[in-house]
């Protein structure tokens, strides 16, 4: 059996290579929206922040740090997805006349 660390390292290795391959194909036109999208995706750390805050017997320190972390991450999620969509809506191929 693989330990947790080993499995996680496998996942990390494969996800990094997959990421490199997928991102390489992204059109340079969309590099700015790509960055705001990956930003929103990496705000998945909200999951960790929820676990910290919602744990039974969480100390005040945990709650305060978790609260700030959730706020920061949710700001990123909301603004990240919305602004990416706002930018992408601007990319039009042909003029409508």
């Amino acid at each position: 059996m693989l330990s947790n660390l080993e499995t996680a390292l496998y996942v990390f290795m494969l996800a990094t290579f997959l990421g490199l391959e997928v991102i390489r194909k992204v059109s340079p036109l969309l590099h700015t929206p790509l960055m705001s999208l990956t930003n929103a995706i990496s705000a998945i750390s909200v999951v960790g922040a929820i676990l910290i805050t919602s744990a039974q017997g969480a100390t005040l320190l945990s709650k305060v740090l978790g609260f700030i972390a959730i706020t920061a991450a949710v700001t990123n999620i909301v603004s990240g997805y919305l602004i990416t969509d706002r930018m992408l809506k601007m990319f039009k191929r042909r003029e409508k006349r």
């Binding site: 996800a15 995706i41 959730i70 602004i83």
Partner: protein, 460 residues
């Protein structure tokens, strides 16, 4: 439910991969955003349902505040401020990761060694990216000076500081009960972030923003190791590799290495050599420029950061329309590092409704300059400097540039003859075929538009 959440996480991770895959073309990109949103929603809902949630008031309040802050940021922010917003969100993301790491450390310092190692990496990267991104944001917003701030033995001080922080991290892994060391460790990481970014000049921001993006992702990824959550590992690794690729692209486009960007303090050394003798240039009025454009059959516009500063994108779009209506072929040449972040120019021009098939990347457009009648440079400087090709002594020698000097006529809209950001004189301006159009980009383009006579075709 405890088991179900793991399956939900797997689907979320798959959706994140698809989300990035669909970004490969503007046609499918919006579907990508949607996939990302669903993935995120599933992950959050799954997490909340799978565990017994205590302190829900705290979580609810944080969600409300975050949403209330996020919506106006997304809708009110002008497109010219996108680099600042991006830097700000790197700061937020990194802060979240760093704080989760901190809370986890104080909750239970006695964890397996590998967890502690991941935790130290998470907090180190998180805190340094937090302050580093705030500095980058200050520079982009021009609250802080855009020129590099340097002092003696800067690199030595910075590396020493990083080494000290790393040593404390190692010590905390070995003796986790020394919890009092943790605030020192966090403080050093925060300080290092500040010192890392202040010597970096505005023109290097595209690389730095991409690099900070990568760090923020890796910090979230390390959190996945700490909390034993594979989905976090995947999402963080995707973000980390995305930032890495973008920074490599940016470095290549400047012919520079990572170390050179981070420790080179570009723009500082060159100010000494910037004392150049006065050379004659040819300048032209808006009327003359309009006549030349009118008489051409193909025009390539080269936008740069100056366009963003002057907010000239909508005026340029009017010029684009006016010329296209006359049957003149107009394209835009986009250098990878034009502007202050990867893809900055594309977003600005798309905002002004310029169709994206008119925005052409450096490698594809360079062969077209020799057949083009007019190259119109607006707010770009170093990326058009032929010295990068010819002058081995130039600090930008070897940097890939747009071959603007191969066009029949070159017109450059510029405020004055002051050298550009890197402080390097641009030989392009002294060529016989070059006309300097002195003035503010937005005002000058308006003047050209006024001088263009109403075409017969418009009367249809």
């Amino acid at each position: 439910m405890e088991h179900l959440v793991h399956y939900i996480y797997i689907v979320s991770a798959a959706l994140f991969v698809l989300s990035l895959k669909w970004m490969n073309s503007p046609v499918t990109a919006r579907r990508g955003v949607f996939a990302g949103e669903i993935g995120m929603l599933m992950a959050i809902t799954g997490t909340l349902l799978a565990h017994q949630v205590f302190n829900w008031q705290w979580i609810l309040a944080a969600f409300l505040i975050g949403t209330a802050a996020g919506i106006p940021i997304a809708y009110i922010m002008p497109m010219t401020a996108v680099p600042q917003r991006t830097a700000m969100s790197h700061a937020c993301g990194a802060l979240a990761a760093a704080l989760v790491g901190t809370a986890e450390f104080y909750r239970e310092p006695n964890q397996p060694k590998y967890v502690l190692v991941a935790l130290m990496i998470e907090t180190l990267l998180g805190f340094l990216t937090f302050t580093g991104s705030l500095m980058a944001m200050g520079k982009l917003q021009e609250i802080l000076p855009q020129r590099p701030i340097t002092y003696r033995n800067q690199n030595l001080t910075n590396l020493g500081l990083l080494a000290l922080a790393a040593a404390l991290g190692v010590r905390l892994v070995l003796v986790p009960t020394d919890t009092w060391l943790f605030p020192v460790f966090a403080g050093l990481s925060l300080l290092f972030g500040v010192l890392l970014i202040i010597p970096i000049g505005g023109a290097d921001m595209p690389t730095v923003i991409a690099l900070l993006n990568s760090y923020a992702g890796l910090s979230a990824c390390a959190m996945g190791f700490v909390l034993d959550n594979r989905m976090l590992v995947i999402a963080g690794a995707l973000d980390g590799s995305s930032g890495l690729i973008l920074s490599i692209i940016m470095c290549k486009a400047m012919n520079r290495s990572f170390t050179n960007v981070l420790f080179g303090a570009f723009g500082q050394i060159q100010t000494k050599t910037a004392a150049v003798e006065q050379r004659p240039v040819r300048s032209a009025s808006a009327e003359e420029a309009a006549a030349i454009l009118e008489g051409s059959s193909s025009v390539i516009i080269v936008p740069g950061y100056g366009l963003a500063v002057a907010q000239a994108q909508h005026k340029i779009r009017e010029l684009f329309d006016a010329l296209m209506r006359r049957g003149i072929d107009v394209k835009f040449a986009i250098h990878p590092v034009a502007g202050r972040m990867p893809g900055h120019m594309n977003v600005l021009l798309a905002e002004a409704d310029i169709p994206y098939d008119r925005l052409v990347g450096m490698e594809d457009i360079n062969s077209e300059f020799s057949q083009c009648d007019v190259a119109l440079v607006i707010g770009a400087n170093d990326v058009t400097n032929p010295a990068a090709r010819n002058d081995k002594t130039s600090p930008i020698y070897g940097m890939p540039i747009l071959d603007v000097d191969k066009a029949h006529t070159v017109m450059v809209i510029k405020r004055s003859m002051r050298p550009g950001f890197a402080g390097i004189d641009n030989d392009l301006y002294y060529l016989d075929k070059t006309l300097m159009l002195f003035g503010d980009a937005k005002a000058f383009v308006s003047d050209i538009l006024k001088e263009l006579p109403v075409p017969l075709a418009a009367a249809r």
